[in-house]
């Protein structure tokens, strides 16, 4: 687009043009984001005769509550509403530990604070998966930064790899500074 044309169109038209292009890109991304069959996912070998016996992602994930990111599945709703009942242990004597305490992470600058819900995490994970190696049990004792998370440390061990990705800012940064919520809080 030439500069002259931009000048001719005026700012609002250029803006509307940009909005239209962004909309088209998002629509195309939504269509492209469907689950691909294994035979053309560019990972599985199409020459493998056993490929026909493997379940395709769409056949299973298409029946679960939808989401916009990751596997396009809302795994929490899938679990809580009984769409799936994943087994919690292999051996009968393995303890299945859960906790229902929210932690408020305050060191987020001017953007909304982070509520960490133990409940949904311990519906999937054991305490030892995070404590004490990735996170200290004591609230505020772990020097979490967004940079480290983006590099795959702390929350980024799972978020961005297997749990919902780091493009979903608001799902974690969900507590506005003017909110009166009082979960267990880090000292500021």
């Amino acid at each position: 687009m030439s500069v002259n044309r931009i000048r001719h169109m005026g700012t609002s038209r250029v803006y509307r043009c940009l909005v239209a292009v962004v909309f088209l890109v998002m629509a195309a991304a939504a269509v492209a984001g469907e689950w691909r069959p294994l035979k053309n996912d560019s990972l599985h070998d199409p020459e493998n005769p056993a490929l026909q016996y493997l379940q395709n992602p769409g056949d299973a994930l298409g029946r679960l509550p939808g989401d916009g990111a990751g596997n396009k599945v809302d795994w929490i709703r899938a679990l809580e509403n009984g769409y799936i009942r994943p087994r919690s242990e292999l051996k009968k004597d393995t303890p299945v530990r859960t906790l229902d305490t929210d932690i408020l992470l305050n060191k987020t600058g001017s953007i909304p604070r982070v509520r960490f819900p133990h409940k949904v995490h311990t519906q999937w994970l054991d305490c030892d998966n995070c404590h004490e190696q990735i996170f200290k049990s004591k609230a505020g004792a772990t020097p979490i930064t967004m940079g480290k998370i983006l590099e795959g440390e702390y929350c980024g061990v799972c978020h961005g790899a297997v749990a919902f990705p780091l493009t979903e800012c608001n799902r974690c940064h969900s507590v506005p500074w003017d909110s009166q919520e009082t979960p267990v809080a880090e000292k500021r």
């Binding site: 687009m1 169109m9 038209r13 509307r16 043009c17 239209a20 292009v21 088209l24 890109v25 492209a32 689950w35 691909r36 996912d41 560019s42 990972l43 599985h44 070998d45 493998n48 005769p49 056993a50 490929l51 016996y53 493997l54 992602p57 299973a60 994930l61 679960l64 990751g70 596997n71 599945v73 795994w75 799936i84 994943p86 087994r87 919690s88 242990e89 292999l90 051996k91 393995t94 299945v96 519906q123 999937w124 994970l125 054991d126 030892d128 998966n129 967004m146 940079g147 998370i149 983006l150 590099e151 795959g152 980024g156 061990v157 799972c158 961005g160 790899a161 297997v162 990705p165 780091l166």
Partner: protein
């Protein structure tokens, strides 16, 4: 010139069409695997079999994370686990379930060893967030 006419004309410019196609196609192209598919290839290629694809989505429908990552001892970092067929046949790691009782046994090589030969190990499906550490 009306709003519609102007942006349609803008979209017919070759440079703009090229740019639009680039935006639409390039980011999606390399990441066709399902989110969190893990390719295991510490030994496969050198042993002359296809690399292994571990689909997280399939397993988490049936098992909570804690089963593999706490009970079975899989470290939560792609590449950190050195899983050998010897250990699997002894009932460790994948072999805790892939024993012919819970899931298919090790004799069905092709069901796990299913990646294109030469596929690099690692976690797939768009985990790259393009954050500071990956720029």
């Amino acid at each position: 010139m009306s709003f519609h006419a102007s942006w349609i004309i803008a979209l017919t410019r070759p440079a703009n069409v090229t740019l639009l196609l680039f935006i639409l196609i390039v980011p999606g192209a390399p990441c066709r695997a399902e989110y969190a598919d893990v390719v295991l290839n510490k030994h496969s290629d050198s042993e002359g079999v296809r690399p292994v694809i571990f689909p997280h989505w399939f397993h988490r429908i049936r098992y909570q994370c804690r089963v593999c990552h706490a009970e079975l001892g899989f470290v939560m970092r792609a590449g950190a686990n050195d899983v050998t067929m010897q250990e699997i046949t002894e009932g460790k790691f994948c072999g805790a379930c892939h024993n012919g009782e819970i899931a298919w046994p090790v004799e069905h090589c092709d069901l796990c060893h299913s990646a294109r030969p030469g596929t690099a190990a690692g976690i797939r499906g768009g985990h790259q967030t393009l954050g500071p550490g990956n720029w």
